[in-house]
Amino acid sequence: MTPSVSSHPAAADKPTYITNQIIDVAALLSQYEDEAAGAVVLFNGTVRNQSLGKPVDYLFYEAAETMAYKMINDLLQEAQEKWHLTTVFAVHRIGKVYVGESAVVVITSSPHRKEAYDANQYIIEKIKHELPLWKCEYFTDGTKKWGGNCSCQEITGNPNQHIYDI
Protein backbone atom coordinates (compact mmCIF):
# COMPACT_ATOMS: atom_id res chain seq x y z
CA MET A 1 0.00 0.00 0.00
CA THR A 2 1.25 3.45 -0.87
CA PRO A 3 1.44 5.62 2.25
CA SER A 4 -0.87 8.59 2.18
CA VAL A 5 0.81 11.99 2.26
CA SER A 6 -1.76 13.14 4.77
CA SER A 7 -2.96 11.46 7.89
CA HIS A 8 -6.24 13.36 7.66
CA PRO A 9 -8.98 11.08 6.33
CA ALA A 10 -10.99 13.84 4.63
CA ALA A 11 -7.92 14.96 2.72
CA ALA A 12 -6.68 11.51 1.76
CA ASP A 13 -8.60 11.12 -1.52
CA LYS A 14 -7.41 14.03 -3.61
CA PRO A 15 -5.88 16.83 -1.56
CA THR A 16 -6.07 20.40 -2.85
CA TYR A 17 -2.46 21.41 -3.41
CA ILE A 18 -3.20 24.22 -5.86
CA THR A 19 -6.12 26.57 -5.41
CA ASN A 20 -7.53 29.83 -6.74
CA GLN A 21 -9.45 30.34 -3.48
CA ILE A 22 -8.29 32.33 -0.44
CA ILE A 23 -6.31 30.10 1.95
CA ASP A 24 -7.84 30.14 5.44
CA VAL A 25 -4.72 29.42 7.49
CA ALA A 26 -6.49 28.99 10.84
CA ALA A 27 -8.98 26.57 9.31
CA LEU A 28 -6.17 24.57 7.69
CA LEU A 29 -4.25 24.35 10.94
CA SER A 30 -7.28 23.00 12.71
CA GLN A 31 -8.06 20.61 9.83
CA TYR A 32 -4.60 19.10 10.16
CA GLU A 33 -4.59 18.69 13.94
CA ASP A 34 -2.74 15.54 14.82
CA GLU A 35 -2.73 13.82 18.20
CA ALA A 36 0.36 11.77 17.29
CA ALA A 37 2.35 15.00 16.93
CA GLY A 38 4.19 16.82 19.67
CA ALA A 39 5.29 19.48 17.17
CA VAL A 40 3.34 21.19 14.42
CA VAL A 41 5.17 23.64 12.13
CA LEU A 42 3.17 25.87 9.82
CA PHE A 43 4.89 28.08 7.25
CA ASN A 44 2.69 30.84 5.90
CA GLY A 45 4.09 32.66 2.86
CA THR A 46 2.25 35.96 2.45
CA VAL A 47 2.22 38.74 -0.12
CA ARG A 48 4.18 41.74 1.17
CA ASN A 49 3.32 45.32 0.33
CA GLN A 50 6.52 46.23 -1.50
CA SER A 51 9.07 44.64 -3.78
CA LEU A 52 12.11 46.09 -5.59
CA GLY A 53 11.44 49.29 -3.64
CA LYS A 54 7.99 49.76 -5.19
CA PRO A 55 4.51 49.40 -3.65
CA VAL A 56 2.84 46.13 -4.71
CA ASP A 57 -0.80 46.06 -5.80
CA TYR A 58 -1.15 42.28 -6.11
CA LEU A 59 0.65 39.17 -7.33
CA PHE A 60 -0.56 36.87 -10.07
CA TYR A 61 0.50 33.21 -9.86
CA GLU A 62 0.41 30.78 -12.74
CA ALA A 63 1.19 27.04 -12.65
CA ALA A 64 1.76 24.19 -15.07
CA GLU A 65 -0.95 22.57 -13.01
CA THR A 66 -0.70 18.84 -13.74
CA MET A 67 3.08 18.90 -13.35
CA ALA A 68 2.94 21.06 -10.23
CA TYR A 69 0.30 18.88 -8.59
CA LYS A 70 2.32 15.72 -9.12
CA MET A 71 5.51 17.39 -7.93
CA ILE A 72 3.90 18.55 -4.68
CA ASN A 73 2.41 15.11 -4.12
CA ASP A 74 5.79 13.42 -4.67
CA LEU A 75 7.57 16.01 -2.53
CA LEU A 76 5.21 15.56 0.43
CA GLN A 77 5.55 11.80 0.22
CA GLU A 78 9.35 12.05 0.07
CA ALA A 79 9.39 14.36 3.12
CA GLN A 80 7.01 12.16 5.06
CA GLU A 81 9.21 9.13 4.51
CA LYS A 82 12.49 10.93 5.19
CA TRP A 83 11.46 12.68 8.43
CA HIS A 84 8.76 10.20 9.58
CA LEU A 85 6.15 12.94 9.69
CA THR A 86 2.77 12.23 11.20
CA THR A 87 1.13 14.87 8.98
CA VAL A 88 2.34 16.77 5.94
CA PHE A 89 0.45 19.14 3.67
CA ALA A 90 1.13 22.04 1.32
CA VAL A 91 -1.09 24.33 -0.73
CA HIS A 92 -0.21 27.12 -3.17
CA ARG A 93 -2.48 29.84 -4.51
CA ILE A 94 -2.78 30.62 -8.21
CA GLY A 95 -4.43 33.63 -9.83
CA LYS A 96 -4.56 37.07 -8.18
CA VAL A 97 -3.30 37.21 -4.58
CA TYR A 98 -3.50 40.53 -2.73
CA VAL A 99 -1.17 42.05 -0.12
CA GLY A 100 -1.49 40.27 3.21
CA GLU A 101 -3.05 37.12 1.74
CA SER A 102 -1.37 33.73 1.93
CA ALA A 103 0.32 32.56 -1.25
CA VAL A 104 1.60 29.27 0.14
CA VAL A 105 1.16 27.24 3.32
CA VAL A 106 3.20 24.21 4.41
CA ILE A 107 2.21 22.15 7.47
CA THR A 108 4.43 19.45 8.96
CA SER A 109 3.90 17.49 12.16
CA SER A 110 6.07 15.02 13.97
CA PRO A 111 6.49 13.66 17.49
CA HIS A 112 9.41 16.07 18.11
CA ARG A 113 10.18 19.53 16.69
CA LYS A 114 13.42 19.01 14.77
CA GLU A 115 11.89 16.75 12.12
CA ALA A 116 8.88 19.04 11.62
CA TYR A 117 11.12 22.13 11.23
CA ASP A 118 13.60 20.46 8.88
CA ALA A 119 10.92 18.90 6.71
CA ASN A 120 8.97 22.16 6.50
CA GLN A 121 12.02 24.09 5.34
CA TYR A 122 12.91 21.41 2.80
CA ILE A 123 9.41 21.50 1.32
CA ILE A 124 9.20 25.30 1.02
CA GLU A 125 12.66 25.51 -0.59
CA LYS A 126 11.70 22.88 -3.16
CA ILE A 127 8.44 24.71 -3.86
CA LYS A 128 10.24 28.02 -4.35
CA HIS A 129 13.06 26.64 -6.50
CA GLU A 130 11.61 23.76 -8.47
CA LEU A 131 7.83 23.83 -8.68
CA PRO A 132 6.60 24.79 -12.17
CA LEU A 133 4.76 27.78 -10.78
CA TRP A 134 5.48 31.47 -11.28
CA LYS A 135 4.62 34.84 -9.81
CA CYS A 136 4.10 38.08 -11.63
CA GLU A 137 4.29 41.19 -9.46
CA TYR A 138 1.86 43.96 -10.33
CA PHE A 139 2.85 47.33 -8.86
CA THR A 140 0.61 50.24 -7.96
CA ASP A 141 2.32 52.34 -10.67
CA GLY A 142 0.85 50.00 -13.31
CA THR A 143 4.09 48.13 -14.12
CA LYS A 144 4.56 44.37 -13.80
CA LYS A 145 7.47 41.97 -13.44
CA TRP A 146 7.64 38.18 -13.73
CA GLY A 147 9.49 36.85 -10.69
CA GLY A 148 12.74 34.95 -10.72
CA ASN A 149 13.28 33.60 -7.22
CA CYS A 150 15.41 30.85 -8.55
CA SER A 151 18.64 32.14 -10.00
CA CYS A 152 20.65 29.12 -8.80
CA GLN A 153 21.68 28.22 -12.34
CA GLU A 154 23.69 31.43 -12.55
CA ILE A 155 25.87 29.82 -9.88
CA THR A 156 25.57 26.11 -10.74
CA GLY A 157 25.42 26.54 -14.54
CA ASN A 158 22.64 23.94 -14.74
CA PRO A 159 18.89 24.69 -14.64
CA ASN A 160 18.31 21.36 -12.88
CA GLN A 161 20.87 21.95 -10.14
CA HIS A 162 20.16 24.24 -7.22
CA ILE A 163 22.44 25.81 -4.64
CA TYR A 164 21.32 23.34 -1.99
CA ASP A 165 22.36 20.44 -4.26
CA ILE A 166 26.05 21.40 -4.37
Partner: protein, 75 residues
Amino acid sequence: MKVKVYAVLKDYFAAETEIVAQNITDLKEQLLQLNPSAKEVINLSRFAVNDAFVENNHQINENDTISIIPPSSGG
Protein backbone atom coordinates in the same frame (compact mmCIF):
# COMPACT_ATOMS: atom_id res chain seq x y z
CA MET B 1 3.29 18.64 -31.74
CA LYS B 2 1.77 21.06 -29.29
CA VAL B 3 4.11 23.51 -27.55
CA LYS B 4 2.90 25.24 -24.37
CA VAL B 5 4.76 28.12 -22.75
CA TYR B 6 4.26 29.67 -19.33
CA ALA B 7 4.80 32.85 -17.35
CA VAL B 8 7.42 35.23 -18.80
CA LEU B 9 7.68 33.12 -21.98
CA LYS B 10 4.19 34.30 -22.92
CA ASP B 11 5.72 37.75 -23.42
CA TYR B 12 7.71 36.16 -26.29
CA PHE B 13 5.49 33.42 -27.76
CA ALA B 14 1.83 32.44 -28.03
CA ALA B 15 0.71 30.40 -25.02
CA GLU B 16 0.12 27.38 -27.25
CA THR B 17 1.52 26.72 -30.74
CA GLU B 18 2.03 23.84 -33.15
CA ILE B 19 5.68 23.28 -34.11
CA VAL B 20 7.28 20.32 -35.90
CA ALA B 21 10.69 19.45 -34.42
CA GLN B 22 12.92 16.36 -34.22
CA ASN B 23 14.20 16.89 -30.71
CA ILE B 24 14.46 19.55 -28.00
CA THR B 25 17.62 21.13 -29.47
CA ASP B 26 15.84 21.47 -32.82
CA LEU B 27 12.78 22.95 -31.09
CA LYS B 28 14.95 25.52 -29.26
CA GLU B 29 16.52 26.60 -32.55
CA GLN B 30 13.11 27.04 -34.15
CA LEU B 31 11.83 29.06 -31.20
CA LEU B 32 14.85 31.35 -31.40
CA GLN B 33 14.21 31.87 -35.12
CA LEU B 34 10.64 32.87 -34.24
CA ASN B 35 11.83 35.31 -31.58
CA PRO B 36 15.61 35.82 -31.16
CA SER B 37 15.06 38.08 -28.11
CA ALA B 38 13.87 35.03 -26.13
CA LYS B 39 17.37 33.52 -26.16
CA GLU B 40 18.27 34.22 -22.54
CA VAL B 41 15.05 32.91 -21.03
CA ILE B 42 14.93 29.86 -23.36
CA ASN B 43 18.47 28.94 -22.28
CA LEU B 44 17.40 29.11 -18.61
CA SER B 45 14.24 27.03 -19.15
CA ARG B 46 13.59 23.34 -18.65
CA PHE B 47 11.68 21.30 -21.23
CA ALA B 48 9.06 18.68 -20.43
CA VAL B 49 7.43 16.20 -22.80
CA ASN B 50 4.01 14.96 -21.70
CA ASP B 51 4.63 16.41 -18.21
CA ALA B 52 8.04 14.75 -17.66
CA PHE B 53 11.30 16.72 -17.82
CA VAL B 54 13.64 15.69 -20.67
CA GLU B 55 17.16 16.41 -21.93
CA ASN B 56 18.04 18.29 -25.14
CA ASN B 57 18.57 15.13 -27.18
CA HIS B 58 15.08 13.77 -26.41
CA GLN B 59 13.28 12.76 -29.63
CA ILE B 60 9.85 14.33 -30.05
CA ASN B 61 6.86 12.45 -31.47
CA GLU B 62 3.97 13.91 -33.43
CA ASN B 63 1.39 13.60 -30.65
CA ASP B 64 3.61 14.89 -27.83
CA THR B 65 2.83 17.96 -25.77
CA ILE B 66 5.91 19.98 -24.90
CA SER B 67 5.89 22.34 -21.92
CA ILE B 68 8.59 24.97 -21.64
CA ILE B 69 9.23 25.73 -18.00
CA PRO B 70 11.09 28.96 -17.13
CA PRO B 71 12.88 29.23 -13.74
CA SER B 72 10.45 28.75 -10.85
CA SER B 73 9.26 31.69 -8.76
CA GLY B 74 6.72 30.22 -6.39
CA GLY B 75 6.24 31.08 -2.75
